[in-house]
Symmetry: D2
Amino acid sequence: MKLLEKLAQEKVLRDPIHDFIHIQDQLILDLINTKEFQRLRRVQQLGVANTIFHGATHDRFGHCAGAYELARRVTDYFGQYFASKTPGDGFWNPEERMVTLAAALLHDVGHGAFSHTFEHLFHTDHEAMTQQIIMGDTEIHQVLLQEGPDFPNKVASVIAKTYPNPQVVQLISSQLDVDRMDYLLRDAYYTGASYGEFDLSRILRMLRPCQRGIAVNIGGMHAVESYLVARYQMYLQVYFHPVSRGMEILLEHLLGRVKELLSAGKEPQSLVGPLLAPVFQEDHDLTVHEYLRLDDNLFLTAINGWQDSDDTILADLSQRFLGRKPLKSIQINEQSAPHLDSLEKIVKEAGFDPRYYTARNDAYDLPYDDYKPAAKKPRTQIELVLADGSHRELSELSTLVGAIKGRASLDQRFFFPREMLDNGPDDLFTDVHADFQSLIKNDTFIPGED
Amino acid sequence: MKLLEKLAQEKVLRDPIHDFIHIQDQLILDLINTKEFQRLRRVQQLGVANTIFHGATHDRFGHCAGAYELARRVTDYFGQYFASKTPGDGFWNPEERMVTLAAALLHDVGHGAFSHTFEHLFHTDHEAMTQQIIMGDTEIHQVLLQEGPDFPNKVASVIAKTYPNPQVVQLISSQLDVDRMDYLLRDAYYTGASYGEFDLSRILRMLRPCQRGIAVNIGGMHAVESYLVARYQMYLQVYFHPVSRGMEILLEHLLGRVKELLSAGKEPQSLVGPLLAPVFQEDHDLTVHEYLRLDDNLFLTAINGWQDSDDTILADLSQRFLGRKPLKSIQINEQSAPHLDSLEKIVKEAGFDPRYYTARNDAYDLPYDDYKPAAKKPRTQIELVLADGSHRELSELSTLVGAIKGRASLDQRFFFPREMLDNGPDDLFTDVHADFQSLIKNDTFIPGED
Amino acid sequence: MKLLEKLAQEKVLRDPIHDFIHIQDQLILDLINTKEFQRLRRVQQLGVANTIFHGATHDRFGHCAGAYELARRVTDYFGQYFASKTPGDGFWNPEERMVTLAAALLHDVGHGAFSHTFEHLFHTDHEAMTQQIIMGDTEIHQVLLQEGPDFPNKVASVIAKTYPNPQVVQLISSQLDVDRMDYLLRDAYYTGASYGEFDLSRILRMLRPCQRGIAVNIGGMHAVESYLVARYQMYLQVYFHPVSRGMEILLEHLLGRVKELLSAGKEPQSLVGPLLAPVFQEDHDLTVHEYLRLDDNLFLTAINGWQDSDDTILADLSQRFLGRKPLKSIQINEQSAPHLDSLEKIVKEAGFDPRYYTARNDAYDLPYDDYKPAAKKPRTQIELVLADGSHRELSELSTLVGAIKGRASLDQRFFFPREMLDNGPDDLFTDVHADFQSLIKNDTFIPGED
Amino acid sequence: MKLLEKLAQEKVLRDPIHDFIHIQDQLILDLINTKEFQRLRRVQQLGVANTIFHGATHDRFGHCAGAYELARRVTDYFGQYFASKTPGDGFWNPEERMVTLAAALLHDVGHGAFSHTFEHLFHTDHEAMTQQIIMGDTEIHQVLLQEGPDFPNKVASVIAKTYPNPQVVQLISSQLDVDRMDYLLRDAYYTGASYGEFDLSRILRMLRPCQRGIAVNIGGMHAVESYLVARYQMYLQVYFHPVSRGMEILLEHLLGRVKELLSAGKEPQSLVGPLLAPVFQEDHDLTVHEYLRLDDNLFLTAINGWQDSDDTILADLSQRFLGRKPLKSIQINEQSAPHLDSLEKIVKEAGFDPRYYTARNDAYDLPYDDYKPAAKKPRTQIELVLADGSHRELSELSTLVGAIKGRASLDQRFFFPREMLDNGPDDLFTDVHADFQSLIKNDTFIPGED
C-alpha cells in the first residue's frame, strides 16, 4: 500500500453538528471533490419529512461528511491509545485507518432521490448501488485507485460487510456505528426535535477495539442507553410521522400512476424528460451513469410539470404533493386490518379511486436486539467491557435496554383523502363522510358491527 | 373589519430556531396552506451558499414562518404592555396585529429561485412580485379577502412601505426588523457559523412602539449592538464568501449562455422545458402564474440536462456548477481595477473565453446608518428611549455602533478559472499560468509595471 | 382575596436555563427580596456533587426561581386555553394562580446546608421547615399576609399536599412537577452531563388540567418518556455518583465526630461558633431563626477550622474533605452485604477506625410508578388524555415507561479509605492492602471463602 | 528535564464549557489534587456578581481547569502542525508543553475571596501570591519539583512574564490568551448573558507560533473580532453592572468598618475568628499559609455573624449585604463629579454616614490596544499573519477593532442608600429624598444651579 499522503495543513468544513469536519488526507479531499459525491448535495437526507418538520432540509452530503468525521475521531483515538502491538491481539491496526475513513465517507453515496419510495417502486437497492459506484467507471473509483489497485475493492467490501476485519465493518455498520450516530444527531438538529440527542463525546471515548469487533467500556453504558433511547424516540417521533408517510404515499402513487400510464401506451416524451426516462423504461436495469443523474430536483420538477397533466389523477396527486395536502390516516391493528375494505368502499363511494387515494402502511423498527444466530439477519450485539476485560451483552446490565431489546416499534395505518374528514354544509358527500367518520375513535379504526 | 377568528387550540410548527412557531389564527393557518406559500419549501434561503457551508440547506418557508413568529411575539408583547389608549398616543393599536402577522409571513413570498442571480439577469424584483402575488389571482389573495375586502391591499402596502402606520412598516422592514432578526439567527444556525447570534429575547423585550415607529429601550442597547455586529460578521463571513460568489457567477454565466444561444436562434425545446421557457422568452414579462411555477429544482434540473449540451461552453459551465468547481478569485481595489484587462488577456491566452470564465464582482453592505434625508433611500435610524422618554439615535450612545455607522463593507474581486492557479508538469499552459500568478500577492491583484 | 397587584412593567431575572424568569407581580418580587429567600443563594443545589462535576456550583435560589417560572408558564397557558367556566368543570381556575406561583417559588425555602447529610444526622425535615418558615415569624410570612390573612396558610398547605385543589398540589409536587422539571434541566446544565435534557416546551404545552389534577395530552407522551428517562439517567449518573457519596460520608462522619466530642464533654466554644452551636446542642429543636442562620459557608468554615483540631480523627477527616480525598467504594449486594465485617476488620488492621473510615451506603430511586393504593406513600400516576377525553395511565401506552415502572434503581456500596487500594513499595500495610484488594473484582465485593 | 510521565489512559473532567477537560499527565493530575488547588472550589469566579446574575455561581477551580484545557489544545495543535525544526526558527518547541500547561492551570491559584475588594482593602496582589504559592512551602511546589529542580521557578516566571519564550508567556497572558478565552465563555455560560460567545474552535485553529510570540492567521480575523466584541460586551453588561458594584461597595465598607473598630480597640475575638484574624492584624503581611486558609465561606460566615454586632453600622451593612440590598447608584461625569459633596450632604441629612453609605466608583476597561512603547504597561498587540507570512497589527485590517482600539470603556457612578429613592407617605425624610431625587435625570446626576 502506498504511503498515505497527508495534507500539509488540514482543511476543514464548517459543520453545525460536529463544529468542524477535519480533512487531513489528499485522498479524502479528492473523494469529496468527485462529481458523484457532490451529487449528494441534491439528495435530501429525510426525503419528504421536511413537510412536517420544516427545518429538516439537510442533505446526504452533510451526513456522509459527518459519518466520516466520527470515523476519523474514533480511528485517531484508537491509534493513540489502543494501537495493536502484535497482529491478532485484538487492538487497532492503524493501517485500517484509510479504508475506514473512505468507507464512512462513501457509505451512502448510492442513495438516490426519495430512496425509500424509489427502491420500493423501482426495485433498486442503495447499498448495492454504493458498491457499484465504488467499483464502476466513476471518478470515485479513480480516486480510490490512487491508494492501491485493490483499495476500491476493500472499501466496497466494507460496505458489503465482507471485509475481514470486524472492527472496520462494525464502525461503519452495526447497532452502534458512525452512520447512526451522525444521522440521529443531525436529524435531531435539523428537525429541532430535541429527541435525538445523546452524549456523543462520551461514547466516542468509551469505544474499544476487541477481537470480535467494537465494544464499549462499562463507563459508557449510560451514554449508549441514551443513544438507544434517542434512536427509539426519533423513530416514533420523526421517522414514523404519519404526515410524512401520507406524503410518501402520494409520491409513490403518483409515480406509480406515471408507470401505469406509460405501460398503457402513453407517449413517454409527454411525461418524462431524457434524464428520468430510463427509470420508467420497462425491463431495464439502471446503469450507474443513469442512476447518478437522478436527484431530488429531477423528480420534483417532473411533478411540477405533471400538475398540468391531462390525466386528472396524475395532475391531482401532483398538485396535492406540491401543495402539501398529505393523505390523512388512522391507526389500525391486527383486529381491524381485515376490515379495511369496508373503509376503501366508502372512500370509493366518495369519488376516490382507492388504488391511488388509500393505502395501508406499516412503520416498523427494532431499536435494539442481541445476537440471535437463528435470525435471518443476525445483529451484532452491543457488548460492554468490564474492569477485568470480560464482556457482557448490554441488556444484561441495563434495565432500560433490557426493556427495549427485541421489542419492535410498529405503527400500522390506513391512509385516505383528507376530504373524508370534512363535513361542511356545502359538501356533496356529507353522508358518506359521516359513515367514514363513525368508524374512527381516538385516531383509530374501530370496525363497526356488520 | 371582521372579527379575528382565533383557533380553538393553537397549532405549532416545530422550529429549530424559535423552538415553536405558534399559529393562533385561522387566517395564518390558511395562508401557510396555500400553494404559493408551500412553494417556498422549494426555494433555498441562501441559494448556492451551501456549496461552502454545507449545512445551509434551509429554505424560505422556514424563514418566513420565523419572521411571522417574531412578529407574533412582538405584537403580543405590545398588546399586553403597550396598548394604545387613545388614537395617536404613540402606543400600539391591537387592531394592527393581523396585518402585521400576515405581512411578516408573506414578506418573502415573491422570492424566486437563486433570487440574486435571477433578478440581475431577468430584471425582476422580488418585492414587487410579493405585492403582485398578494394582489393577484392567487390562493393567498383569496385567503386574505376573508379578513376584509381591503385586507390584501393593506398587506401589500406594508410590503411597499406605504402603509400609514410606521410601527407596522418598521417591524417588517427597517434596520431592526423581524426579517433580519430571523435570517441572521437562522443562517447562523444552519451554516454553523456562530457569528450571527445575538440576544433575541432581550431585543424583543426592549422594543417599544412610539410616534414615529419602533424604538428600543435604553436597556436593550447592548443587545442591539450585538445584533448589528452579528449582521456585520455574517456579511463578511458568509454572504460575501468568495466561493459562493464564484458559484453564483458560474450560474449567472451559464444562464446567460442559454439566453444567448436562444437569441442566436437555437431551438428552445432542446434547451428549456415548458415551465422554464417563459423565463427566456424575449420581450416577455413573466406572469404571476408563470413565476410561481419556478423553483430551485427546475433550474437545477435544467442544468443537469445542459451538462450534455452540444454547446461546449454551456456543457462545461454546467458541469462545473454541479460538480462544485467554483471560479477562483482575488481581491482588487480602486488602484488595481483599471488594470483588469491585463488579467483577462492572460485568461484568454490560456484558452478561456473571458465573457464566461471571468468576472468582476463587488460585495457591498452598509451594516448600519442613521437617517440621512438627502440619501436616495434614507434609512430609518434605530433610536433608544431613555428613562425620561426622550429619544437618542443609537450611535450617539454606542461606541461600537458609532464605529460601524455609515461605513460600508466592501469586497471587490476578480474571478477566473481555477486552472489559472495550476502549474503541474503536464500542463500545457504553465507559462501563461505563471504570468497570471506573478500578479497575485496575499490573495490580491498587484498589477505589474508596464 | 385582595386584587392581585400586577407590576406596571414586568421585571426579569436572566436565567441560563429558562432565558428569563419573568416577575409580573409585586408579591413575587417582595418574596424574592426577603432575607429568607436570599439565604438560598448560600445553599448549593447539589451539595458536594461539585467535587465530581466541578461545574455544578449552582444554588437553590436559581432552582426555586426556575420552578416558579415554570409554574408561571403553565398557569398562564392554562388561563389562556383551559380556563374554567363553571366551578368543578375540571378546568383551571385562574384565581389559583397566585397560590401556585408562591408555592412554586417557596417550595425549597426550608432547605438547609447539605440537606441530605444534615437531615439524616440532625433529624430535621426540609419540607416541615418550609412550612414553618411560611407560617412563622418571618419576612416571607409578612409578605404573604399582604395577599390575605389566610394566604400563608394556603401556601403552606400546598407544600403539605393538603390543599384542596389537586391541580395546584400536583403542579408543585407529583411525578411530573415544576420542581423536578427545573432541577433535571438545571443540574444537567451545570454538571454538563447532558443526560437530563428533555423537551420542556412540549411538555409545558401538553399539560392539561383535569378533575383529578394534572394530565398530559397524548401528543406529549414521548416528551414525558424523555423526561422520565432523563430522570432515570441523572439518578444513575449524577445523584448516585460514588465519589459524591464518598464525600458525603466524610461530611457525615466528621460532623458525627464533632457531636461525639461534644457529648464526651469537649468545650463547645473550641469547636463551634455561636451560629453553629444550636445545631449540636443536645435535646434542642432548632428554632426557625436558628435554622435560617445556617448555610453552606458556616459548615465549610467550621471544617476549615477543624483541620487544626487536636482530635486527630476530626482533623484528618476535615483535611480529607476540603482536600477532596473522598472515601473509595465498591459495589455490594444482597449476597455480599452480610460479609462486610470481614472488610471492616481489614480496614481496622490497616489502622483506620471503621466507625469513621468505612460506611455502607445505599442509593435508591424509583423513577416512576403508577398509583398503588396499598403503598405507604401512593404516587399520583401520570395520565394521558386521548382524543375523546378519556384517560390512560402512562405505562399502558409507553413501552419505555412500562419497562421502568415500579423498578427501583439501587446502588449499594461499601466505602473505605483510598489507602486500602495502595500498594507502593514503601507502604507499611502492603499485605493488609493486598488482602483487601483480593476481595474486589470489577468494582464489586466478592467475599472470599472462609 | 525528566521524561514526561504520560498517564496510561487519560482522565477527564466533565466541563460544561469545553465538554471534557483532558488530563494526560501525572503531573497535571497531581497538581489538581493538591489542597491549594482544591481551595479554588471555595472561591467564586465572579465574586458578588451572582447577586445580579443568579446563575453565576461558578468558581475558580472550573476556570483554571478550563484555561489549562485550552492551553492543552493549543500546544497539541502546535506540536502537530507547527513544531520547530531548528531552534530559533519561530516555530513551537514541544518541550515547552509542560511548563505551559502547568502555568495555565495555576495562573489563578493565588486568587483569594472577593479578590477585587480584598486586594483593594488589604493591599495584596493575586499574581504575586500565585508566584509565592508556586515557590513556597506548598504541595504545589512539591509536585512541580518532580518535573525538575528548576521547574517551579520556570512556571513562576511564566506568571511573572519573565520567562524567555514569549510564545509561552503570551498563551498565558496577553490580549488573546487562554485565561480570557476561558473566562469570557465561562462567565457567559453561567450568567446566561449570551454576550460572551465567540468562535473558540476557529481561534484555536488559527493561532500561530512566531518569533515574537503568538499571532493569528488572517483567516481567524473575524473570529478574533468576535472575541474582542464579546469582551467589550461582557465588561459593559456584566463586569460593570451597577448592582454588583453596589454589593461590592457594601462589602468593602463593612470590612472597612471592622478594620476601623479593631483599630479603635475593639476586642478581636468578638469580631473575627482565628482564620480571619491575620487579615485584620495591623502591620502584618499575610503568610502563604494564612492566605491559603481564606476563602469565600470564611468571609460570608463572618458577615453572617456580624449581623448581630452591637455596632449598628456593621450590623446594618452586614444585613444589607446578606439580604441583597445593594447601594443604588447614578452616573456621574467629569462635569458633575466635583459637585458630589452636595449629594453626600443630602444623604447625611437623611441619616446615613456618607463614609459607609456612599461611594464614588469608576469601572474602567480598555478592550484592546496596540503596542505603545511609551505606555506604563505596553500591551502585546494582536497580529495577523498574511498568506505570504508577513504580519499586520489587527486594527489595521479590521474596521471593528479599529473602532474599539485604545478607547476605554468607563462607567463612573455615585452610590447611595436605596432609601434615598423612596417617598412613601409614612417616610420621615420625604423632603430630603425629594431634594435628592431632583438632582437625577435619566439615571444621571445633574447638579443643580447654586
